[in-house]
């Protein structure tokens, strides 16, 4: 298995274990937690009320609590499996559709490919999350009364999957074009290899490390889009609006059904200035996971280019300067 060599990289292993710990911890916690609804008031030993939800951070409540008195640390742990599960779903969806898309792109004439590639340039002129927002918001924000929870979830997931498919499909198609110009692949048809045989036996082994790298990059990028969308008041995974107040002076608060991190950000946004930890804690979880994915990426690049650090001053044209260890991760701009 080629994947073993990545696990020998400590950097990759560190990133991978952070993600794994989040997921396992989340599942473990859900299996042991008590289902009793929490108290909105906090008493000291003598039975005196000392705090009202949301509680201040203390020993028992390391991150305080939300406005229902749920221990916030546990809420975040519970949310990890929804957020990371969603990321996994979206990333795998993206990869499958981009690989299929790259086959289509390879089949059509070259000028169409060039045209699509210049069309996708528009993604540089606004944040990717704005493009996602424009497609998701009709169902989740503007006309949310018309759509059922399931449709909303499907729309958000499908949009997030297909948003980067054009760019990714182009990238993969270009990789395959470059690979198929290699001599050993050019000569394979002469020896009687069919197209499918050549793809599976010759192109795929060379392509697989790149695909793996793109997958991890996409996972990190999906996480940061989810975090951005949370600040735009969009989160995936079901919500309900509760209207408070008297007739004229009403305001609507949105509550997340799951403890998904994006939902936690949206739900606690109005407390940002009063209890900043309620927003910052889920943001930090997003950041931690993004860093973990980035660690995995640098582990992969190191494992794939082990010779780079050795031949530093051998050739006249700098290999050290062009070494992959220092190539911008966001060279394509989209893979953040």
């Amino acid at each position: 298995m080629i994947i073993v060599k990545y696990f020998k990289q400590p950097v990759f292993l560190a990133g991978f274990s952070i993600i794994l710990l989040f997921i396992l911890g989340s599942f473990y916690y859900s299996s042991v937690k008590d289902s009793a609804s929490p108290s909105k008031l906090l008493y000291d030993e003598t039975g005196k009320i000392i705090d009202q939800a949301p509680f201040e951070p203390s020993d028992e409540y390391p991150l305080g609590s939300d406005q229902f008195g749920n221990n916030y640390l546990f809420a975040i742990i519970e949310g990890a499996k929804y957020t990371l599960g969603l990321v996994l779903l979206i990333t795998i969806g993206r990869m499958i559709f981009s690989i299929l898309g790259s086959f289509i792109l390879l089949a059509v004439p070259l000028f169409i490919r060039k045209f699509i590639s210049s069309l996708t340039d528009i993604f540089h002129f606004a944040p990717l999350s704005i493009f996602a927002y424009l497609l998701i918001a009709p169902a989740l924000v503007a006309f949310s009364w018309s759509y059922s929870d399931f449709t909303q979830f499907m729309i958000a997931t499908v949009v997030l999957i297909f948003l980067t498919v054009p760019v990714l499909a182009l990238q993969i198609a270009n990789e395959i074009t470059i690979l198929s110009k290699e001599e050993f692949i050019q000569h394979a048809p002469l020896l009687g290899g069919g197209r499918i045989h050549i793809f599976i036996k010759h192109i795929l082994p060379c392509l697989a490390p790149k695909l793996f790298l793109i997958t991890v990059q996409q996972a990190g990028q999906t996480l940061s889009i989810l975090a951005h969308l949370a600040f735009l008041k969009i989160f995936v995974g079901g919500f309900n609006d509760i209207t408070y107040g008297e007739e004229e002076d009403t305001y609507v608060r949105t509550f997340s059904d799951s403890f998904e991190w994006g939902g936690l950000i949206v739900q606690n946004w109005s407390f940002y200035y009063a209890e900043p930890q309620l927003v910052i804690a889920p943001v930090c979880c997003f950041v931690l996971c993004i860093i973990a994915f980035n660690l995995m990426i640098s582990g992969i690049t190191r494992a794939d280019n082990p010779s780079l650090r050795l031949k530093k001053k051998k050739s006249f044209v700098s290999t050290a300067a062009a070494s992959h260890a220092f190539i911008p991760l966001k060279k394509e701009g989209m893979n953040r």
Partner: protein
């Protein structure tokens, strides 16, 4: 020259087409005619109960093409464009003129600030000894992996923390009433682009400094600093210019989070608030973001072409 102009023209046309095609996409998959009609009824209080309304995903190519036509009409007649919000149609112009220059200020400010800082820091970096260089390089890579949300929150919290401990408010943190924050927002969104520029410049300078003419300049006895400023900086300017698209994109993505966290009502929030109900408005805003980039890019390419006719 003609070749550059045709290239720029095709770039312009394709980008505008792309924006039109994308911003009309919601009309293709959502039943906008019915949905907007219901929204108007609800907003005007003519419909109280909306729980019976259901809708699903549709596929309407004819509505899509009509929307594109409509958007083009609105763009050609941009002074009379209206947008719908909360039961009323508003004129685009007074609102847009308030929103757009503000974002543009932050944007251009951040672009120049990060270019300045990036070039300055790169020169500083080149003066450091070799061991320190690898350390700094690693630090840059480490900081750069942090997402924009984290950096902007961190900047904001640092200022708040500083204020709480010392009582000195270094900068305005959020826009409240008529006190506007300028320096801190620009600084906050410049951090990531600066790092990107520094990293890119270091990479190209290291590549460039292995070339023959630099060796020759060294052999002539020119001072390292002189070589850096006169030869290397000049020759990395063009590759840096073609990275502008990426730098632009990083700043924009930071700008979105900035506008939300610093409570600045700028163009990205304007799109988010009204662009959904009015696809043509989203197109106009995206073109408004694209235009300054195009002007910078076109004038830069023409300048490069003129200075270096090859």
């Amino acid at each position: 020259m003609i070749k550059v102009l045709t290239k720029l023209l095709t770039f312009f046309v394709i980008s505008i087409t792309g924006i039109l095609l994308f911003t009309s996409l919601p009309v293709l998959i959502y039943d906008y005619a019915v949905l907007m009609n219901n929204t108007r009824l609800i907003d005007r209080g003519q419909m109280d109960n909306n729980s019976f309304l259901t809708n699903s995903i549709v596929f309407e190519p004819s509505a899509y093409i009509n929307q594109i036509k409509h958007t083009v009409q609105q763009i050609l007649d941009v002074t009379n464009t209206t947008y719908y919000s909360n039961g009323q149609d508003y004129e685009l112009f007074p609102a847009f003129v308030e929103v757009y220059p503000q974002s543009l200020t932050f944007f251009i400010g951040a672009l120049f600030f990060s270019l300045l800082m990036g070039i300055g820091l790169t020169i500083l970096y080149m003066l450091f000894p070799a061991q320190l260089k690898t350390l700094i390089k690693r630090m840059i890579v480490a900081i750069e992996t942090l997402p924009d949300i984290f950096i902007i929150i961190l900047v904001q919290l640092t200022v708040i923390w500083f204020y709480k401990t010392t009582g000195v408010l270094m900068f305005n943190i959020v826009n409240v009433y008529n006190t506007e924050a300028y320096f801190l927002p620009i600084f906050a969104i410049s951090i990531l682009p600066t790092l990107y520029i520094v990293k890119y410049l270091i990479l190209t300078i290291e590549e460039e400094s292995l070339k023959h003419y630099i060796e020759f300049a060294k052999g002539k006895g020119l001072h390292n600093f002189y070589i850096l400023i006169v030869y290397l900086m000049k020759n990395t300017a063009v590759p840096l210019f073609f990275q502008m698209k990426t730098i632009f994109w990083i700043i924009l993505s930071n700008l979105l989070i900035l506008e939300i966290l610093f409570n600045i009502y700028g163009i990205t929030r304007f799109i988010a608030d009204y662009g959904v109900e009015n696809p043509h408005l989203a197109a106009i805003c995206l073109i408004a973001i694209f235009l300054p980039f195009f002007v910078l890019f076109a004038s830069g390419s023409l300048l490069i072409r003129k200075l270096d006719p090859r």
